[in-house]
């Protein structure tokens, strides 16, 4: 079974994330980046599936030069090869353009048995790329899987909702997005780190994918960020002095915030 996992290099959520002043896009230069933590679950699930049968895991990303770090992490975890789609014209691409690039790259890799993605990125957090990608590849789409089994020609997934869990089945090839409940991602091992240095990483530009620069980038985006402002610092908490009516005041406060 061959699997393509789509991953994203995102600014470290632990650091001070911001936007570029020049074009209001995400600042990817001023902060440390890493493999989106939600994508680690996708990589782990792909590795488990391949380890249980056979085949290869290819990790795919779209992003600037630094995005190679996300691929490196996935290769260190055990993925077999990587494809990095990068081009200056891609800067500022929205979800439709990203899904176009991913789809073209997957077609060029050769449509696998399964495409696995995380449920969303930890920076944009839109969670729409898996659906767009499935549409472009004309694949059955199984999103938010918290459990996954593949049996012969079908994939069975559990989707946990607020009130019920669904079990759904799709024929292969299919696209699956996975949640952070599906597994416990492994850490790379030192041997994995050393082995990753020898694994193939292909770098493709727009020309390799037959995509026109006008179809991607900030100019082609359907939406754009007009302005941004930092969230104001948290205000000081309100201190209620108990003068015999502390309970009442507390209840009034909670009621005013609609907690009770």
């Amino acid at each position: 079974m061959n699997i393509v996992v789509c991953v994203k290099h995102v600014p470290d959520a632990q650091s001070e994330r911001t936007f570029n002043d020049s074009d209001n896009t995400t600042d990817r230069e001023g902060v440390d980046g890493l493999l989106s933590e939600l994508d680690e679950y996708a990589v782990e699930e792909a590795l488990k599936l391949v380890e249980a049968s056979e085949g290869e895991v290819t990790v795919l990303t779209v992003g600037p030069a630094g995005a190679a770090d996300a691929l490196k992490k996935a290769l260190q975890m055990g993925a077999h090869k990587a494809v990095h789609v990068t081009d200056d014209a891609i800067h500022g691409s929205d979800a439709p353009a990203t899904s176009l690039l991913l789809a073209k790259a997957i077609e060029k890799i050769g449509t696998p048995d399964v495409v696995i993605t995380g449920m969303a990125s930890t920076d944009g957090t839109m969670g729409v790329v898996p659906a767009m990608l499935a549409e472009r590849l004309n694949l059955p789409m199984v999103t938010y899987a918290s459990q996954l089994t593949i049996d012969g020609s079908a994939v069975t997934a559990r989707r946990d909702g607020d009130t019920a869990s669904e079990t759904i089945e799709a024929t292969l090839p299919a696209l699956v997005s996975v949640t952070d409940q599906i597994n416990e991602p492994r850490y790379p091992s030192f041997k994995g780190i050393m082995a990753a240095k020898k694994k193939p990483v292909e770098t493709w530009g727009l020309g390799d994918l037959g995509v026109d620069a006008g179809q991607v980038g900030l100019g082609a985006a359907w939406t754009k960020v007009d302005s941004f402002a930092k969230r104001p610092p948290r205000e000081k908490g309100e201190i209620v002095t108990d003068e015999g009516d502390g309970g009442t005041k507390l209840a009034e406060f909670l009621a005013s915030r609609k907690f009770i």
């Binding site: 492994r186 850490y187 091992s189």
Partner: protein, 389 residues
């Protein structure tokens, strides 16, 4: 703040990155709770932490790749130990002890012994224990009485070893035993797998700190191992033990440095957050200078162990420098953790902050792997010996 490091290779830096990730996600968040549970139960063990480190390949770094090791120089291996210590001291000490247990096989074993034993020791699946001390043979190891007698091709061991880390939890025991009455020259080293008949363990010691490091007596009652379990030659035991200790001291020096770094980081953060008289307490020079001295102590500790490690990696003598590193780094750990409690004031004395745990964990570093008095003996003999020639 993570320590500033210059790693000799790119892979060394990647190892540090991997170690920090595992420390942040797996070790640091669990250390306090597991240590407290181990203290209460008297015998709990961070099995999970060692498994995680083993799977990541962090328990076998300084040994050759052909046997499953990481093939890393001590300069890199020790900085990994330091990072682990800054997250969880017991686990760092365990990592150092485990490395020590593989040393006699790696350095004194035959090719056949290395091929048979090292892959398991370095797999990350096994943990070792190092059985040297006895109740009446601590610093004076030549006075040990645990005895192995030849019976046909076998060795039969009788006696008790004391202060043994991982007692009852280890997968194998690297043991030093008396094989003749020839004083220090009558000692030999034997490999004893866990589960060997006659091997048993006393109740673990109730200690001041380092609770995750289970320590106790290992009891040998007619423990029989085959002749091929002898590591090195008969009578070579004391040489092996002393050589292993030189390397082991570096592990303890690195762990002490990491512990001191953790205490410094905690104190510095607290000094900027805690306000008294309308300003952070760190704005008072009296306190700021304490922090400066703590930083100087941590930095000098790191410098001494790295210097010794680089000598070792270059194949140069490093015994004196290892003793200096162990002395300087463990004294730094004691001083810095003591001062960290002081910076945190009453809060530092409570179990709501890890300062008191760091303080309790620090004391043993001045005692084990050769007391700091023994380190001074080693250092002075080197210095005065050199002066005489």
């Amino acid at each position: 703040m993570p320590a500033t490091r210059i790693m000799p290779t790119e892979e060394g830096q990647e190892l540090i990155d991997l170690t920090r990730e595992i420390c942040d996600k797996e070790l640091r968040p669990k250390a306090g709770d597991v240590e407290a549970a181990a203290a209460a139960a008297g015998d709990a063990f961070p099995t999970e932490a060692f498994r995680t480190l083993g799977q990541a390949g962090l328990l076998s770094l300084p040994y050759p790749e052909e046997f499953g090791g990481g093939g890393q120089p001590y300069e890199v291996y020790l900085q990994v130990v330091e990072e682990i210590a800054s997250a969880w001291m017991s686990v760092a000490v365990g990592t150092s002890v485990h490395s020590l247990t593989a040393y006699p096989v790696a350095e004194y074993g035959t090719d056949a012994q290395r091929a048979a034993l090292m892959p398991g020791m370095l797999s990350g699946e096994q943990l070792g224990a190092y059985c040297l001390s006895e109740q009446q043979a601590g610093s004076d190891i030549a006075s040990m009485t645990t005895r192995a007698a030849k019976d046909g091709n076998d060795w039969v061991i009788n006696g008790r070893k004391a202060w043994i880390s991982h007692a009852g939890h280890a997968d194998y025991y690297t043991c030093f035993v008396r094989t003749s009455n020839d004083g220090g020259r009558g000692l030999s080293c034997l490999h004893v797998p866990a589960g060997t008949e006659g091997l048993s363990f006393a109740q673990p010691e109730r200690k001041m700190g380092l609770h995750g490091d289970t320590v106790g007596e290992v009891i040998f009652e007619n423990v029989r191992v085959p002749g091929e379990n002898l590591l090195g030659s008969e009578g070579q035991g004391i040489n092996i033990a002393l050589a292993a200790l030189d390397s082991g001291r570096l592990g303890i020096a690195a762990a002490s440095t990491g512990l001191a770094q953790a205490a410094l980081d905690l104190a510095a953060a607290y000094a900027t957050q805690r306000h008294q008289f309308g300003r952070p307490i760190g704005d008072n020079q009296g306190l700021a200078f304490m922090v400066a001295d703590m930083e100087a102590a941590v930095t000098s500790a790191r410098a001494t162990y790295l210097h010794a490690a680089r000598l070792k990696d270059a194949g140069r003598p490093f015994s004196k420098q290892a003793a200096v590193a162990k002395l300087v780094a463990s004294d730094a750990a004691m001083k810095v953790t003591t001062d960290a409690v002081q910076v945190l004031g009453g809060a530092g004395y409570t179990q709501d902050f890890p300062a008191e745990r760091y303080f309790r964990d620090a004391k043993i570093t001045q005692i084990f792997e050769g007391t700091n008095q023994i380190q001074r003996l080693v250092i002075s003999r080197h210095v005065l010996g050199d002066a005489r020639t």
